[in-house]
Amino acid sequence: MSTVLQHPEAVETPNYLNQEYGWKSWLFTKDHKRIAVLYIISITVMFFIGGIFASLIRVELLTPQGDLVNSDTYNKFFTMHGIVMVFFFLIPSIPATLGNFFVPMMIGAKDLAFPRINLLSWYIYIAGAAFALAAIVLGGVDTGWTFYTPFSSTYSNTFVITAAVGVFIAGFSSILTGLNFIVTVHKMRAPGMTWGRLPLFVWANYATSLIQVLGTPVVAITLALVGLERAFHIGIFDPAIGGDPILFQHMFWFYSHPAVYIMILPGMGVISELVTCFSRKGVFGYPFVAGSSLGIAIIGFLVWGHHMFVTGMSMYASLYFSLLSFLVAVPSAIKVFNWTATMFRGSISFDTPMLYAFGFIGLFTIGGLTGLFLATLGVDVHVTDTYFVVAHFHYVMVGGMVLAYLGGMHFWWPKISGRLYPEGWAKFACLLVFAGFNLTFFPQFILGYLGQPRRYHAYAPEFQVLNVMSTAGASILGLGYVIPLIYFLWSMKYGPKAGNNPWRATGLEWTTTSPPPTYNFETTPIVTEEAYSYHTQKETHVG
């Protein structure tokens, strides 16, 4: 070990991390990079809280009888797992962390358009999370993350309003982040950074922001009405007082289906960056990959009814929602094909981020294709509300989004922290995540077609073997999540210095120092090329 590596502080250049010290410098920062770090810490805490609930669920399901905890407790476990993971991890995950950090850098800006609003959005998120955690600590919620009425509005006697307020508040954080991104991408691009030169990660976050701004108010209104109905019995959703419980589902899914795309689109943006960088080649079909993000954002608003095929909705409405659900699969397929084609005649390396990208392509393909089963009317009737659905959306949300998040985190960690993580451990953890994930969720497709309904505390004895496999997989998956947490923390002090551009990637974020200075660039960059111009890249030395 050289002494230089032992004492890196001695040669540290001025950057966003060492510019100021002390808690005030973090809690009152307006630097998008520091706010991104605040978000990383917050959503990591939430992820592990949600993960603890997931573990408790899987341990309970080791045996067919409900024997570890009672039914009320189990129902709270899966509800809080869902609420925490969806609203406090998945939705903010990439936009608020990697998006916050890199969208301004990738377009050559000093910061987001509204730095104060950016900080405000974090405080709002924390306030929302505080309510959600309060609901957990006070005794929990048992409605499922979907808050279906009239169970949530009339029958449940748990902390529904507290949790709904938490989700309601967190929604504003999401709206403000989206608004900030839209304005930033429109107004803050560096000279020469035309729309056609935007990195695909920026396009993906832009499309996500449109959904956040247009969709989130609807779920806020919906949950506000649930709260009002609980408190004042106003008769919106409960048929006993003149309401319509199906109205809730329309309103809830009008947001929550597009919300699925809030969760996956930024992940797709990350994968576009990873596949190009580790193939060292421009993306195949740039306009189609960029445009498909917008396509998903738009068509995604028109398919919510596919959650409701067995509610007794009009057959013709079902027909329409089924057809459009197939249509929304096309832009996702376009992305997968283009990523694959990008690798053709590339120069492919097997660094950890690329392994996550491989994992994403495989698992997202399975997640997407099984979504087609659910769009198919005759089959959906059988598999909806079973473990088939649970498996499908975990393939998209975990196999897709969480892998993209981890891949992106590994890719940009050298830029964020200025340090390299241990490659061997990272590959090992990636393998654990991939193997553990499949062992956890693949058996659930079989369970679903067999007919095991979701949200069952006790289940039929013949389903046990597949459930045990699932629990075994979850244990491996859990280990795969903990290892990166440890080595990322370790690398902040002991990791080798990364240099400006350890991957020899294109993109403006790699032209500045690692970690970047507070205003990102010494001088405003001028862009003269399209994104991913690896063939004309001048800088060839490794950082």
């Binding site: 169970f151 421009g282 397929a333 694959t340 120069s347 392509i361 089959v379 509300d385 007919g451 949200r455």
Partner: protein, 338 residues
Amino acid sequence: MQLPLFPEAASAIASSVDYLYFYLTAVSIVMTALIFAAVFFFALKYRRKSEDEVPAPIHGSLKLEIAWSVLPFLVMLTFFWWGAQIFFANASPPPDAMDIYAVGKQWMWKIQYPEGQREINELHVPINRPVKITLASEDVIHSFFIPAFRVKHDVVPGRYDIMWFTATKPGRYHLFCAEYCGTEHSGMVGWVTVMTESDYENWLAGSGVEGTMAQQGERLFGQLGCATCHQLEQQGRGPILRGIYGSRIQLQNGQTVLADDAYIRESILNPNARLVAGYRTDVMPTFQGQITEEQLLQLVVYIKSLAVQGAAPVSEQSAATPGGAAATTENPNTGGKK
């Protein structure tokens, strides 16, 4: 150790759903294999050989983009078409389907048969006869799910939902609640017993009854005081109910409505909602909160039994099953209620 990997197929539609499922699975496997193969092949063939190699750029191909947008969509249209066909073919029960009534209540299924039998978490059906189940919920949304039949329908409070199936294989099959409904959701399970026609007749004959559902409804009709205004032969303060079921009713507001289960249910719970032309509002009190969904169904079945013009009151008809004629046992659901 049991390790089933595929559910039993015990209804007329089960195998048609399975074939479509196999088709979807086959296409998915082919697509996944193609993508995996391409990714693996490219990753190995084009792996980085030297640190400084930089491949030539390839910008894309409009032809390929069109091909891999349009072709998958065409394949998806076959899923759509086939799935819609199954869905539409099974949307409405055939007219000769036999009726069974199910009420979801936290956390049990209460089943009623027109012949008067009642069960909890058990459903008996004969083989090879279409069975139409009218579903009602006493409280929250439930979902009536029989995996072996590949059928499922939500049971939404405040209305009637309809599902149907034709069982094809004798045996006992799971009945699940598929929509999360609170504490004992996973305990809201039961069994469907599919029997041969003769076994079913024996079973009907062997289980004790309190009169047919229509007779139970007729008793309620009297106990609740309905008969005071809704007389059978002469005009009372309310409409004569004989013969109205299945007819079109002229409403106060000029519209007409089909007098079906839903309309009768609504008229009992919310009489002013769609008032028959020529009658005054606020004459009939609401029965919201005063009768159970099971009792409502009995009243509906009773009024339905009056559909045939000139039919004698059901209590005078010979009951369909032995013991049915002895309408003496008190209905436990109406005990003490008036």
